[in-house]
Symmetry: C2
Subunit: 261 residues, 2 copies
Amino acid sequence: MPEPRNYRMTVAYDGTDFLGYQIQREQRTVQAELEKALLRLTQQAVRANGAGRTDAGVHAHGQVVSFRAEWRSQTSDLERALNAVLPRDISVRELQAVDEGFHARFSATSREYLYRLYVSPVRYPHLDRYTWRLSRDIDSERLIEATAMLVGEADLRAFGQATEGRSTVRSIYRAEWKPLPCEGLDRPGWAFLIEANGFLRGMVRRIVGTLASVGLGLLEPEQLGELIASRDPARACAPAPACGLFFWRARYQGDRHSGQD
Amino acid sequence: MPEPRNYRMTVAYDGTDFLGYQIQREQRTVQAELEKALLRLTQQAVRANGAGRTDAGVHAHGQVVSFRAEWRSQTSDLERALNAVLPRDISVRELQAVDEGFHARFSATSREYLYRLYVSPVRYPHLDRYTWRLSRDIDSERLIEATAMLVGEADLRAFGQATEGRSTVRSIYRAEWKPLPCEGLDRPGWAFLIEANGFLRGMVRRIVGTLASVGLGLLEPEQLGELIASRDPARACAPAPACGLFFWRARYQGDRHSGQD
């Protein structure tokens, strides 16, 4: 038998029909599907650790997963075999053998999420699956003013939960909006990219819900600062729906920083 | 009882889970869902005539549907009620009472389809639902050269079937490709817009399959002319998949021509 090796893979998925990334008893989750496929191909019980534990309905463009397994053929054969047996809503973009020390979750230096929204008084079913619909447009100046206040290190308890008494301090490195082209609509939508060293559970959706409230004039930009300072989750706005959210990328020490991806 | 009136509505749908627009015995079709909703709301058996009979899996951004019904309240109430009872994958964008003579199919002066494709060696589940994946890029010069040959009136039997011995001559008014922004991918995809006085069954998908073959270097641009002249469907390339196709819009005499939509 070959020695077990450590693998890193990049995975994209449509989160609509999953109860999130993390394995849960008798539920359809991304991790469960990945581990089932790995069991089938390698005959080993494999743990597939993800960089981000996305919630039910959240998608991924570049989730990173690490696992240890014995595989006697080429790595590229395992990648092809995985894509052949995985369901249509999961795709392995890349698979490589990596150093023993690599762990998708613990080795990550930052994570990025992308949130998509569109502006339309009427619903478009083909947009709804991956985009949150706002019935009226948001004020981009207010939005930019409030978004700038997010960058830096802060206790973000107001935006989410940490696991079992762990710290709720996070560093947000980047938070920016850009127009999202929406063919056939009056106006472009908005895409929000946020990069941080880590995210609390539900954090991006609560941030987007709150920023949208600022953009819609329901909340003043200054109130965002007060909300963060309060560390009171009850004061945050309703979270934006899961459908618009994508786990976009995780970064690791030694990765080439390409603009792409 | 009020007199029955003639209505025009614009409908968007995600075609993935439909066996096409047109009603078919015991199948899930868009027309069946619309007529079921109208029966429930008006207590009348209503025929919902669509401008285009989209095939299984084909989406719509702006399908136009006409029907006659008695409705004692405001038209806007009927629109809201329809959106409340229709399944999530159909949306009524607009509903208005119109002249008796209006018929979504027979009054249309032109129809437009949009076809979306993306270029990537790996699959992205969240793009696959509404976009055809090509694993390598197409040569835009070859594509433009071939596409220009489509515009005009011609017997297009090579690209599709007409119903029961009817003419296969159609006038293509416009056929053009433009870049399709694809967030997170190496390069943009392509969106193909085609407008004609009418389309044969399967025509857009066969045209796109053939143009993609030209763009990929599998067919010379000149061969497109020969293919059309042959009027032989067996010589056309395999049709592009339904997932990338949208019924985009129908135009009618007297409609304002706005750039939007």
